[in-house]
Subunit: 465 residues, 2 copies
Amino acid sequence: MSENMNERQIPYKIYLEEHEMPRRWYNLRADMQNKPAPLLNPGTLQPMTAAELEGVFCAELVKQELDDSTAYFDIPEEILSFYKMYRPAPLVRAYCLEEKLKTPAKIYYKFEGNNTSGSHKLNSAIAQAYYAKKQGLKGVTTETGAGQWGTALSMACSYLDLDLKVYMVKVSYEQKPFRREVMRTYGASVTPSPSSETAVGRKILEEFPGTGGSLGCAISEAVEMAVTNEGYRYVLGSVLSQVLLHQSIIGLETKIAMDKYGIRPDVIVGCAGGGSNLGGLIAPFMGEKLRGEADYQIIAVEPASCPSFTRGKYVYDFCDTGMICPLAKMYTLGSGFMPAPNHAGGLRFHGMSSILSQLYADGLMEARAVGQTEVFAAAEQFARVEGILPAPESAHAIKGAIDEAMKCKETGEEKTILFGLTGTGYFDLTAYEKYHDGKMDDTVPTDEELRKGLAGVPQFPGNEV
Amino acid sequence: MSENMNERQIPYKIYLEEHEMPRRWYNLRADMQNKPAPLLNPGTLQPMTAAELEGVFCAELVKQELDDSTAYFDIPEEILSFYKMYRPAPLVRAYCLEEKLKTPAKIYYKFEGNNTSGSHKLNSAIAQAYYAKKQGLKGVTTETGAGQWGTALSMACSYLDLDLKVYMVKVSYEQKPFRREVMRTYGASVTPSPSSETAVGRKILEEFPGTGGSLGCAISEAVEMAVTNEGYRYVLGSVLSQVLLHQSIIGLETKIAMDKYGIRPDVIVGCAGGGSNLGGLIAPFMGEKLRGEADYQIIAVEPASCPSFTRGKYVYDFCDTGMICPLAKMYTLGSGFMPAPNHAGGLRFHGMSSILSQLYADGLMEARAVGQTEVFAAAEQFARVEGILPAPESAHAIKGAIDEAMKCKETGEEKTILFGLTGTGYFDLTAYEKYHDGKMDDTVPTDEELRKGLAGVPQFPGNEV
C-alpha cells in the first residue's frame, strides 16, 4: 500500500485499523539522559519508596511511577479491549482550517474527544481502574474540578464494576449539574467538596461555612477517604509519570498513522495544564529527539492566567494545596496559587509534570502563554470550519497551531504542524457564553501575586525560590 | 481482502475509507410499488405543484421532494467534502453489550453522534444549506425544539457563509441555554418563539402573554420570516421525503460496511419521530426487500407518549400545528396533539414521514411503542458498557434492540441485529437526572385525548378518521 502513497490524497481522517493499534505504552523517561527528579517525602526529604507510595496508590501503578528505565510496558489485554471501544482516535488533516487561514502549512490534529468523557483522560482512567481491580480493591477515590477526569474514571470503574467516590469541587458541583449527572449515569457517587464525610472536610466547613471548595481541598478529602477505608486507593488524572506513560498511546497512534502516510511533523503543539496530554502526544517524537534520530520543534501552550512554564520556578513543591502529597520537582507557581476566578476551563494546576519540567529545563521544548479571549476566538474559528466544538483547554493548542500556521503564511514555509485536540466543549458552554457576551477578561497574575504563591514552596538547601 | 474475511475477527468499529463512501443518495420511493401519497394544497385539495412549493422551499429541494421515480441522486462534491469532516460514521459491533446481555445475538449499531450537532441531522442540514447557497439565497429560517436540528443547520450555514435565523421554542430556549450557545458559536441568530418579530408571533403573544411556545408556533414564525423576506427560504429537518433522501447516506454506508465484512442483518431497528433517521437507515435494505432480493424484519420504535404509528390514523393531515403547511398523508395523532409535558427528548412530532407511513400500511415494517422509564434504563445500561451516552431519542432504538437480543437469549437464535444510534445525550442530562431521581413518569395519552387530537384532521371525502 505504501508504494503509491505519494500519489494518493491524504484523507481528512486517518483511522488506524485495530490490528495497527499500539500494544505497548512508551516510557519517555527511559530515553532521558537527565531523569526527572524523584518524588520526595516531605518529612524526610528522601525519595519516596514504593512502600510509602503503596498506602495511597495501587502497587502496579507505584511500580510504573518509579520506573524510569524500562522503555516499554505491555498494555494488558483487558485495557486493549476497552481502548477498542473508543480508539483508535482519528488523526485529522485540517483541510478546512488550512483553507480558511490560506496558509501553506499542513495542519494535522489528533482528536481525543470521541468518547463520552469528552477527552483523553479515559486513556489513563481505564489503566488505573484496571490495576485497582486486579489488586482486588473494592474501589477508588478521586477529586474532580471541571469534571473531565471524574467522568472518565466513572466510565472506567463502571466497566470494571469498581466502586468510585468522586469529590467534586462544590462550586463546580453546583454550576455543572450535567457533569455530575453523567457521572451518576455511570454509577459513581459524587460528593460536593468540602463535605462532612471526612475529617478534613468537616474542619474546612467549620472554618469557612460558605466556601465553594477548591481542588486542593477535594484532593485532601479523596486521599483521606482512600487511606482510611479498607480496599480503597486514590487515583489522579494528570501530573504523575504513570499518567504520562498511559497517555503515550496518543503519540504512539499518531506516529503510526503519520508513518503510514509518510507524514513528518515539523512542529508539535499541545496544551499544558498538568501535562498529561502534552506528555502523551509528544512521547515518541521526543524519544526520537532524545536519541538523536530526528528533530522536532515542540511547543507547550498554557493559559497566561496560570503560567507555570513561562513564569513559574523550577523547584520542589507540593502537588496539592493541602500539602499532604509528596514533593515533586517541577515548574510551579506555588501550591497556594489560585488562577483568577473567571479563568475558564481546566489547565489550572499550579505545577507541571516532572518529566515535562525536566525537558523544558533542558531546552528540549518551548512554552508560550496565551490569553483567554484569543483562545476562545481561535476555538470559535476552528469550530466553524472543522465542525468540532473544542474544550477550552484544547483551544490553547488550536491557538498555538494557528499562530504557527500564520507565521508560515508570512514566510511561505510549508511546515507540517501537528497539534493535540484533547476534547470537546459540550460542558463548557457557560464559558463560550461569556465569550459571546464579551464578558471574558484576560487578567494575568501580577508579579506580587506570583511572589505570594511561591511563598508556600518548602524551603530547604538547594530549593531556594 | 474479502477472501480471508471469515477467518478474521470483526473489529469493534468498522470505518470505511473515504473512497468507499457512497457518492449518491438513494431514493427509496423509486422502488416502491405503492408510492407515498402526494402533498396536497389544503385550499384546493390538489397535489402541490413545484411552483407552489418554491415559495417556501429551495427549487432543487422541491425537485427532490416531488421526484418519486429517480432511484439515485449524485451527491454534489461540496457536500461530499463536508461529509468527510465527520463521516464515514462508524458501524460498531456491540461486543460489550452482547456480553453484558449474555445473548447469542450479534448486535451492530451505526453511530451518527460523532459531530458537534450530536446527531444524524447534519446529513440533511448541509444538503439543504448547500442548495440554498447555490440558488443564491441570503439565508434560511427554521424552527428547533430540543435543538439538534438547529445546531446541525447552524454548523452547515456557518460552513457555507449562509445567514440562519432559528426560532427556538421559548421553553427550550430558557431550559437549554447550552444548545442556544452552540448555535451562537456557529453564528446563527436564535430567537425565542413566540417572538414579536413576526405577525403570527405577536398575535400569539397577545393572546397568551406567558406562553412557553410550541413547535407549531415556531414553525409558523420561521415560515412567515422566510416568505416575507427577499432571499430567504424555510428548511425542515425531518418528515419530508427530501430529508429521507439525504439521510439514506446512513443506510448506504452501513450496507457497504456490512457487505465488506459479509454481515447480513436479520432485524433492523430504528427510533421514529418524524422518520428521518429510520428512513435513512433502512433505505437500501428496504430497497432490496421491495425488489424481492432479500428479506429483513424492520422495526420502528416510538415513544408510548407520542404513538403515531401504533395508535394514530393513516389520513391526510397538516404537518404543522398552525395549519399553514401542505397536507401530507401519514400516520397522525392530529396536528393539535401535544405529548405529555414531561415527555423527555424529541420524537414528539404528531405525524410521520409519508414514505414510512406507506411502507407501514403495506405491512413492510413493524412498529412498537415503549415507555420512558424503560427507555432510560436501556440508555443507562448501554452507556455503561458501550461508553456512549445516548440521546433519549436514540435510546428508543437501543431498547428495541435489547428486547430483540433478549428474545434470542430465550430461543437460542443467533440473529444479527442492526440498530441506528442517532446521537449523543450531552444536552439531555436534565432528562437523565429525572430518571436517576425516579421522577420520570410514563403517562400515555388516553383514548379520549387521541380522539380530541384527531378532531383537527381536515374532513373531506376519503379522509374520514
